[in-house]
């Protein structure tokens, strides 16, 4: 049980995929323009990571070593396509916002990395814990970045069409740069430095 908790927390703190392992950056920066997107992306990643970890962990004794990577890829690609189709059918507005970054989850280093490093070598329960931990870690990271970008870039916070608050001065004259690509780079650069300074991560 203790090791389960350790596995879970690993993904959130010590080995946070975004801030520490620097994995899966493409979707993180690309869709972090709004909290809605962040939730959507996290949900998609959670589904794929969880399902992939479970399936690969169950099959781990049968997967031939030489066909390891292609097998992982096909499984992950299939799961990603399922999510993509589901989003297009049931939440089309989110699907449009996230665009091609949903199918791009298949090359997200987080998923392939966990399949290779963890799920193929551990039992199902631990693989589930790992998937949940990593997804939560990813979710926290992307939510944080989206929060900063959305608030600074549009002056207000709107989650699922419900406006939570707006900052008076920023509302009418937001720093739109944060919604642009380079804003994402700035935000994550500063956040990374912040975490370093807080001593959460180790130096390179």
């Amino acid at each position: 049980m203790k090791s389960l908790i350790k596995t879970l927390s690993n993904g959130i703190l010590r080995a946070n995929p975004t801030f520490i392992l620097l994995l899966g950056l493409c979707p993180t920066l690309a869709v972090s323009t709004s909290i809605d997107n962040a939730f959507g992306m996290t949900g998609s990643v959670l589904f794929v990571l969880l399902a992939a970890n479970v399936i690969i962990s169950i099959l781990r004794r049968w997967i031939p070593d030489r066909a390891r990577i292609p097998t992982f890829i096909v499984i992950i690609a299939t799961l990603v396509t399922i999510v993509d189709l589901a989003l297009k059918a049931y939440v089309p507005s989110l699907s449009k916002s996230l665009g091609m970054y949903v199918p791009l989850i298949v090359v997200n280093c987080i998923i392939l990395g966990r399949a290779e490093a963890f799920a193929s070598k551990n039992n199902v329960i631990h693989s589930i814990a790992d998937a949940v931990g990593m997804s939560v870690g990813f979710g926290v990271a992307i939510l944080l970045i989206s929060f900063v970008r959305q608030v600074l870039g549009s002056g207000k916070l709107e989650v699922f069409n419900v406006q939570l608050f707006s900052i008076p001065g920023l509302d009418s004259n937001p720093a739109a740069i944060f919604l642009l690509p380079m804003g994402a780079f700035f935000v994550i650069g500063v956040l990374l430095a912040l975490f370093r300074w807080m001593g959460v991560s180790e130096c390179e």
């Binding site: 031939p64 066909a67 299939t78």
Partner: protein
């Protein structure tokens, strides 16, 4: 990991995995195909409704790219998607045309112009100018037409105007107007 099971095993295994993938995805596709089509249709309908609030149904002709807008089985107008070469990239425009050939209005579907300048083409202040224009009036003021360009965004403004004018002229000449 896996024991040595002969060199054919990896190929067989992979084939089975791919087969299962195709099967599950085909299933998924069957389940969602209709819904996706419906979602796309309602998206287009919403888009057309912004130009034609009285829209009941519409028809789409693939060859000409024309949407025919219907209310009570009567044609109340036509619409067309077109693309302009803007400052920062392509600008997708929805153009609505009245039965008499005048412009019903335009909507900007997507653009990559400069925020605060060219991006102002999405604002009603710019777009409303197009309502009711006849084909000869679709040009910037300085080019002899009736459309005021956005201050500091002449290129974006002109791109939209010229693309719309060209499209209206083409369909007008082909007998699109009645």
């Amino acid at each position: 990991m896996a024991k040595q099971r002969g060199s054919l095993y990896p190929i067989v295994f992979l084939t089975v995995v791919v087969f299962l993938s195709v099967v599950s995805l085909t299933l998924m596709d069957q389940m969602t195909r209709e819904k996706i089509l419906i979602a796309q249709q309602s998206e287009i309908q919403e888009m057309l409704s912004t130009l034609f609030p009285n829209l009941e149904t519409f028809q789409y002709d693939e060859d000409s790219g024309l949407y025919t807008i219907l209310a009570n089985t009567a044609t109340i107008g036509q619409a067309q998607m077109l693309q302009a070469g803007g400052y920062g990239g392509a600008i997708d425009i929805l153009l609505g045309i009245e039965p008499d050939g005048r412009v019903r209005g335009i909507r900007i579907i997507s653009q990559q112009e400069t925020p605060g300048l060219g991006a102002k083409i999405i604002e009603s202040q710019f777009l409303d100018q197009f309502a009711g224009l006849s084909v000869n009036e679709i040009a910037l003021n300085r080019d002899g037409g009736s459309v005021d360009a956005i201050t500091g965004a002449t290129i974006s403004s002109r791109a939209v105007v010229e693309a719309v004018a060209e499209t209206v002229r083409d369909s007008f000449e082909q007998g699109g107007g009645e």
